[in-house]
Subunit: 381 residues, 3 copies
């Protein structure tokens, strides 16, 4: 899995257990070929007629790296792979793939939780790892909006529920990038504007929240809680599901908000970031409270992941970068996130050591910091 | 031309005839040095005093790869190259370079057609290849605007002419990115606003159309025709001639329009894309009807093209990427487009095979899909 | 320092003395560890508790490449390095590092001048090199605003002072990117609007100028002077100190202004550019009066600098690219700027020569142009 001829200390550091600081529960049930394809495609829909989502970098990586975990030769065809998957059963497949990832602790985004997905605790049990919760603030808002009758109740419940849910969590996360873009007004909205927006909201509480005033209110309320409890706040950024134009998810767009948070001291963790990961690394270099990871991009780009890792290492301070698998849907995404993290970090470190830029001890220390040390520090694990 | 030690199957797939799904006619006449320089420079003007457009990646590539096609040693000086070019004559030069490209079928953008340029049929004859037409909708509008007297005639003629021209073509293309930017309002404009804009337009019909309302009307009318006839719609995107700010030609800006076309089913083909090719690859991964190519960038960046190819392969599904030379002006751009496509795809595939990420058969299949298979499928050749 | 097995001509061209067309004076005084850390961090503040700015690409590069210049082994610890630095004294350290850079001429941005920093003349004396001045127009404005009483005096003094200061300089530079963004209105502001803004300005003249009307007035006045005297105008672009959102420092945003300057003939030099260096290279290819360098990025990204250099070479004409160290704060940044320029250009040229894309003579000529020839031409040294 790692490049050959790495110094032993670097190899050991790369193979050490990881802290996966952002992942999602994976499906617990048996999946048909069409269900599996829907879960591995980027857009959530089927591949065009005559094509398959296996014809992607991620699909090729499933055949290469997950097949052996299921006891198959590398590069088997999709149908052989899926037959074996069905034969083993979802539970065994999930256990094998989650364990193969070599993760010591999962921080699970419980936002998309549903009966179909493994819970945080189950993720841990399947993988023989620790598991903690990252709460998604838009999910809390959704739950509150469905229950509240009047705006004041909504606001009170929101604050209470954020406090209550944060009490069990090691961090919070927000998808505001994909609800209204990261170029939102960085100021805290006035109480009057929030009340007015809340009244509109309660007339249609089942809708996904996209109102920028309420999203900002939610975010600032979460900031208060995060400050109180010393929790990091994760932001989904970069290429997402195109609810808003992708360029509006460039984390550089939220520089104003980042500056507003600097005196407050809440750590801002930029997730995914691709293809804006260089901008994110610059923000992590510039601001003491900003952290960066390229989680999702590594498994999606698979054989091309090494360049993305290398581009983040161009500028990001070593104490600011984190690992996540951003696994979701299928356990394959967890294993591949870990494989391509280790592999691409190895590919990035090797020429630095070979060319005498860094010592092997430096490289090993960086691998340790990025793979687990930084996460243990900022999430206080 | 290809990296050494490629598996034979991959080598053969890369050397197989290509479908060039977007090119322009090249000049048929003899060219002086200053005319040749104007045609190979990016900005359309002469190089600054004391410099030459041969001192560019493209210029160096002409000396390296085109000189041998004209019977010269690689790397001859510009003046030796141009003397030989004059000696052979434009007809022979065009035949040699277009044939050397190894293209089975040209899809020729007939928008910039003029007596100086080879027609689609002539491109085919010179290269001993098939040739089909891609109609440029802004050129049709230009022709219609010059003839129409009143707004209603303009609108009727536009619709009729689009239908008539599309009937002979295998696709349509638009340069709206360079007329008003890709951040245009994605909705279909109202008839009232179109009539009003058409009346303004007809007072100065020789001007290049830049009115966003009429450009959107033209685009939506073209969408109707494309749907009717099952034709793909090509969008010029990325670094262009700076009629609008380059960042407004980022294809991510037209995500709203792409989403509006999704239920309609018209394939959207993103041309060029550089330096936004990662954003384009993400859109191709996200939306079933979006395709991507980096045509123009490969010959322009020449010795640096391999990275661009590799960056598209990071995320683009294999069934979504296409080859184009985007040749224009001189036939050298056609040969270099094909050289750097094959070369850079080879450079991208080799480490994937060597590292065991993909099998040689996978790599060969990807080369075939991108080089010709995908184009044959979506243009129904 | 250079890749092994480079042809001798290329090696010699890379090792030839450079013209550093944009640098800043470095600190003349003894620096404590905390002062040194503040100067090598990107954000201007201390590293988060428990971390150090030595854990960055730049910090690792100081240990690798500067330690030997101070007579230490490569990769010594930060504390050993700083002890040795204190032992030698700031004067000796500055002399050693500035000389080790191998620079024949410094063009020093005197904008941030203060008693703590070496002046342009001192930079030259310490390095045994020539030194000339680049005047920062916002600094001139600041000096004028503090003296003027009424708007008319302010405007007159501004024009006079720009003329006077430009008379001693070889170029001018502007930080408008970080004051109001590069998406400013490219037109020259009306006299009325300037007078009104000047009156507002004079009520608080000690503030940093951020008013877009006065910034544009200043810029256009500088353009007049630059045209008169044949001086290039440098623009800070790309990742900066986040006074404005980083994406607004993308040089593509100022395409309109670039076009407005084209008939005037004033050279526009785009500094730094990262992570928008591909956009900058495109502008340099498109417009005859636009030049590009990635100065600051090379030392900051250090072991990762080679890719940035290579990405600029993708598209920038060879007669359009320049070298700068953008050194500031500590003399280490000058030496590292030169090290990573030579090293990354060598890494970019080697595969081009090895693959037969360019001859060794071509590569040597490009190294000479970018390292010093282009700067000598446009600054008329």
């Amino acid at each position: 899995m790692l490049p050959v001829d790495l110094p032993d200390t670097v190899r050991e550091a790369l193979l050490a257990p990881l802290v996966d600081h952002h992942c999602n529960g994976v499906r617990r049930d048996e999946l048909s070929r069409s269900q599996f394809e829907l879960l591995i495609g980027d857009g959530g829909g089927p591949a065009p007629p005559g094509t398959t989502h296996f014809d992607t970098p991620f699909g090729a990586a499933v055949r290469r790296w997950c097949a052996p975990v299921l006891g198959l030769a590398p590069h088997v065809t999709p149908s052989v792979y899926l037959s074996r998957r069905a034969e083993l059963g979802a539970g065994e497949v999930n256990r094998r793939l989650l364990r193969a990832a070599g993760v010591a602790a999962f921080l699970v985004d419980t936002g998309p939780e549903s009966g179909e997905l493994l819970s945080a605790a189950e993720m841990g049990r399947h993988a023989d790892a620790a598991a903690d919760e990252i709460v998604r603030i838009e999910q809390i808002e959704h739950d509150v909006a469905e229950m509240a009758r009047i705006a004041v109740d909504y606001l009170d419940s929101l604050a209470e529920e954020l406090v209550a849910r944060a009490a069990r969590a090691v961090g919070m996360n927000t998808v505001i990038a994909h609800r209204c873009g990261l170029d939102f007004d960085p100021s805290r909205p006035s109480r009057g504007s929030v009340i007015a927006a809340a009244n509109r909201r309660l007339s249609d509480p089942k809708e996904r929240l996209t109102d920028p005033v309420l999203l900002r209110h939610l975010l600032w309320t979460a900031v208060d809680v995060a400050r109180e409890r010393g929790l990091p706040l994760q932001f989904h950024t970069g290429a997402g599901d195109a609810d808003v134009e992708p360029h509006r998810a460039d984390p550089a767009r939220m520089t104003g908000f980042i500056k507003a948070l600097q005196p407050i001291g809440v750590p801002v963790v930029l997730l995914h970031c691709y293809p804006f990961h260089r901008q994110a690394a610059h923000l992590a270099a510039l601001f003491p409270h900003v952290y960066v990871d390229v989680g999702q991009a590594l498994a999606r780009t698979a054989a091309g992941a090494w360049r993305i890792m290398d581009e983040v290492l161009e500028l990001a301070p070593f104490h600011k970068q984190l690992f996540s698998s951003d696994c979701s849907g299928v356990a394959e995404s967890c294993h591949l996130g870990a494989v391509y993290f280790r592999r691409s970090l190895g590919v990035a470190l090797k020429p630095r050591v070979d060319a005498g830029e860094w010592t092997a001890a430096d490289a090993a220390r960086v691998a340790h910091m990025v793979g687990s040390g930084n996460a243990r520090r900022i999430y206080r694990l």
